[in-house]
Symmetry: C2
Subunit: 363 residues, 2 copies
């Protein structure tokens, strides 16, 4: 029986193709792939990425790392400054139960706290230093990175094994749609810093996102990329040229609950069922609506309230009746999956319900 709406439907064939393509492309460039699992939060899918060639996974949160370990993942990079005694204690415990756990710091205070914990636990902790190459999020400013790396490398109990950055569609500090230039610049900055720090031994360099990753990987001196969204893709990725419409593996399935007037229908889900964080018209993507209907390009999901999706029907649209089902590819897939306890994976006529194991594990 078809699930009740709204629900998330994943086309397994498209997802597997996305996984395979990225793994092959990274491999051809001689670069390791460590996908970010924030997009799917599902260990089973992470294991498929590893089976296709990924060296391990990337997570943002310790709760995600724990969920991935529970699901059988043995090589985890938590690409997020680890702060707080409670979390450091959990990370030390986790590092004992997986094969490899890489932690992160972007400040001396952060690294010192990890150093103290490592010494107390008697086992060294592996860390990477986060470097800001222009997104102005976390990360030590690029110009201060080399000095901090040298200081951190000397802290007892820590093994500084790498440098990482994230910035995606940023070029010269500004948002861009030029994936190639953005990815290349990030790779060049990483590689230059690695050369500057040759004295610290082989530091692994890690960067890149879904739109930029392969351009970052192509730069000599970049060892690893961490794309996430490519597993499902979404309308943002389609808009920036990272994928084609037929590479979008995930959609939200809705029911039309009301046709209150000609040219307007209401779907049975709103901002609690699909991401609203890339609003229609917002730069740099300027997408029309909160998602797109693969079967009807004339349907515009124009307005969301919490549990209602108001769609306008442009001339040439199909006609809809109360009870019809409508699929929507989200603008942003990562924050969409995050709203669901389970998703449905489809192969041919079979649907399988799978738990989004790391959802809700924010801390």
């Amino acid at each position: 029986m078809e699930p009740s709406t709204p629900y998330v439907l994943i086309d397994e064939t498209i997802m597997d193709r996305n996984i395979r393509r990225m793994a092959q492309a990274a491999s051809r460039l001689g670069c390791r792939l460590r996908p970010h699992v924030k997009t799917h939060k599902i260990p089973e899918i992470a294991l498929r990425q590893i089976a296709a060639g990924a060296c391990g996974v990337t997570v943002a949160k310790l709760g995600e790392a724990e969920a991935m370990a529970e699901g059988g993942i043995r090589d985890i990079f938590m690409a997020y400054p680890l702060v707080g005694a409670d979390k450091i204690a959990r990370a030390v415990a986790l590092s004992r139960s997986v094969g490899r756990l890489i932690l992160a710091a972007d400040s001396l205070e952060g690294a010192r706290a990890l150093s103290v914990a490592a010494q107390e636990s008697g086992a060294p902790l592996e860390i990477r230093l986060e470097v800001d190459t222009g997104l102005r999020r976390t990360g030590v400013p690029y110009g201060e990175a080399a000095a901090l790396a040298r200081t951190v490398a000397a802290l007892p109990g820590l093994k500084l094994t790498g440098l990482y950055t994230f910035r995606s569609m940023i070029l010269d500090g500004k948002p861009t749609l030029d994936r190639e230039a953005a990815g290349r610049q990030e790779g060049q900055l990483l590689a230059a810093l690695k050369r500057e720090l040759e004295g610290l031994g082989q530091l692994e360099t890690s960067g890149g996102s879904t739109p930029t990753g392969l351009f970052t990987a192509a730069v000599s001196g970049v060892d690893e990329i961490r794309p996430g969204t490519y597993v499902f893709n979404d309308r943002m990725q389609e808009a920036n040229g990272s994928c084609a419409a037929q590479d979008c593996a995930l959609r939200v399935v809705y029911t039309v609950v009301s046709v209150p007037e000609p040219g307007r229908i209401v779907l049975d889900g709103g901002s609690k069922s699909i991401s609203s964080d890339v609003a229609p018209g917002a730069p740099p993507y300027h997408l029309g609506g909160y998602g797109g209907c693969p079967e009807d390009s004339r349907l515009v999901l124009e307005r969301l309230t919490e549990e209602h999706g108001m769609a306008s029907l442009l001339p040439g649209s199909r006609s809809y009746r109360v009870g019809d089902r409508v699929s929507i590819v989200p603008n942003h897939v990562c924050t969409t999956v995050n709203l669901y306890d389970t998703v449905y994976i489809q192969r041919a006529d079979t649907l399988r319900e799978v738990k989004v194991a790391a959802r809700g594990r924010l801390a």
Copy 2:
């Protein structure tokens, strides 16, 4: 021990005061209060609202209704057109296990499907007709409502017992910040329709939201209001004058994970930890940032990515170090709670973790 961040912290004293005030204000106006539980999704809090005088609860989704019934709520109005054989079957089952379940329709097809199910089950279903008074969401257009009500009232198996509307901050079909005029107009439209339909017996009229509800309630002929957000309040409600800053009962607690440069800090949560659906500057609220810090009005939560919150510190701000905790009152509390499996309720020095039972029950 304090929970790991980010987490949701609810001040029980403020929440209880919000609950009591709304109940007393509705009672003084001689109007029933049926709070919308979409804001908290927690049966325990719904039971407090009922203990304070609410006649029952309102939900948007059948999954929410089921979760509330499991939590001991006996009087539930599902203010959403119920569409689909799967859901209608579940609703029929639920109607047998609670004291009163009121369903909704806004179309003849919708009402007919309920009529058929009621006849098959042998037990009548109680429904209200949703009427659009200007939000242009679901609801039969106002001008067609009387005719549809007469048709629906004649369908076998159904008991049409009410009319309801939702539109909140809309006046003459346009967004407004005039709560009083918006609420009064909604009430007047409801009351006029009720008078027009006197021949159908006593139809209960239900309308109103947190900002407009008491103005709707003050209109003679309005029987019930359905505010939701008032239980916690948020920055939107503060901005529209529904509450004062000290009436905001809920905050998200974060840790500062990075101070990458003077004047900027990074919190350990982004769009997966706090609502991004009322973006800074968005009309009609024009709020600064994605939330406000009660302890530091000079901190502006300017930018969110999925797991990072970038805050700018204006002149006069406090100074922050890595590891500091920072509380943020969200712009929109309903879609914030929806991101968490549990929340923490605080009374004096005691924290209690409570499950958000209806979260994730979208269908």
